[in-house]
């Protein structure tokens, strides 16, 4: 009984922690005013917020009935895919010139995103946000 009680409290605490970070991420999404800084907010919800939720789900499943480790997979896939989507949004921002431009590189090297092939320059111009 007492173990069950401790587990219940642990579930509640982790749910609270998860909700806190997801609320902070939503506040950040509304409050921040630059596309690049706004990108920082969802990466927070993706890592600690969802991580705490899934931990709560796992503790709950182990105390009530059969244990479940599915959640580890969800966490793993989120941790692998979140940086990729963030990277693509950052690239879109750089293309649209929505943010301050990245610093120039030494010795004629260019950023991969800014290195647009000659035949695509026109598309790049029309996509530019003015």
């Amino acid at each position: 009984m007492s173990l069950e009680l401790i587990a219940t409290y642990a579930v509640a605490v982790f749910l609270f922690i998860g909700s806190f970070f997801i609320i902070v991420a939503s506040i950040g999404l509304l409050k921040l005013n630059d596309p690049m800084t706004r990108l920082h907010a969802p990466t927070k919800a993706g890592t600690l917020g969802i991580g705490a939720y899934l931990l709560a789900a796992m503790i709950h499943s182990f105390t009530v009935g059969e244990g479940s480790l599915h959640e580890l997979l969800i966490m793993g896939f989120i941790f692998v895919t979140a940086p990729v989507s963030a990277n693509f949004m950052a690239k879109a921002n750089i293309h649209r010139r929505d943010c301050m431009q990245p610093p120039a590189l030494p010795e004629g090297d260019t950023w991969a995103t800014l290195n647009v092939p000659e035949e695509d320059r026109e598309i790049e111009e029309t996509a530019r946000h003015t």
Partner: protein, 166 residues
């Protein structure tokens, strides 16, 4: 003796990973599922072997484990810091900055792990890679001193990743 083993298990780590993912997908442990997971883990690496010709020769598993634990801890600490910044600082007093990180790492696998780590630790998002893969572009949410951010990433993550990949 080694030849047949290398032929059957060209990528032992991928074999274990596939078996574990299969068992986790089933969400219950039974002998039949373990055997089927191992069959998948042996067949898929053999079928896909031709697509990863230049993979790193090996990693140090123990250092990889400490690296993962370090990153998990950093995610928690940095999340709290960023939550504090979002809740207390006004937009005008924030100092977002681009940070350029010159890379010593050569392997694409190591660079992707570094970029993923940078994005997952809040406050920094890796945005772009230079054409030749020698520089990494990182956006910092609130950096008074971009050089300090660069030095910390190089010292904390890149140095460890260099030790992990042989």
């Amino acid at each position: 003796m080694m030849r047949p083993i290398r032929w059957l298990l060209p990528h032992p780590f991928l074999t274990i990973l596939l078996a574990v993912v299969w068992i986790l997908l089933q969400n219950k442990l039974s002998a039949g599922m373990v055997v089927f997971g191992l069959i998948l883990g042996i067949v898929i690496p053999i079928l896909t072997a031709r697509w990863w010709t230049d993979r790193p020769q090996g990693i140090r598993p123990l250092r990889m484990l400490t690296y993962v634990l370090l990153v998990l801890w950093d995610i928690i600490v940095a999340n709290v810091q960023v939550a504090w910044i979002i809740l207390t600082k006004s937009n005008d007093s924030m100092k977002p900055a681009w940070v350029v990180i010159p890379l010593d790492l050569k392997e694409p696998e190591a660079i992707s792990i570094l970029a993923g780590t940078i994005t997952l630790t809040p406050g920094t998002v890796s945005a772009d890679l230079s054409d030749c893969g020698r520089y990494l572009l990182v956006h910092a949410l609130d950096a008074d001193d971009p050089d300090a951010v660069r030095d910390e990433i190089k010292d904390r993550y890149e140095r460890r990743l260099k030790e992990i990949f042989l």
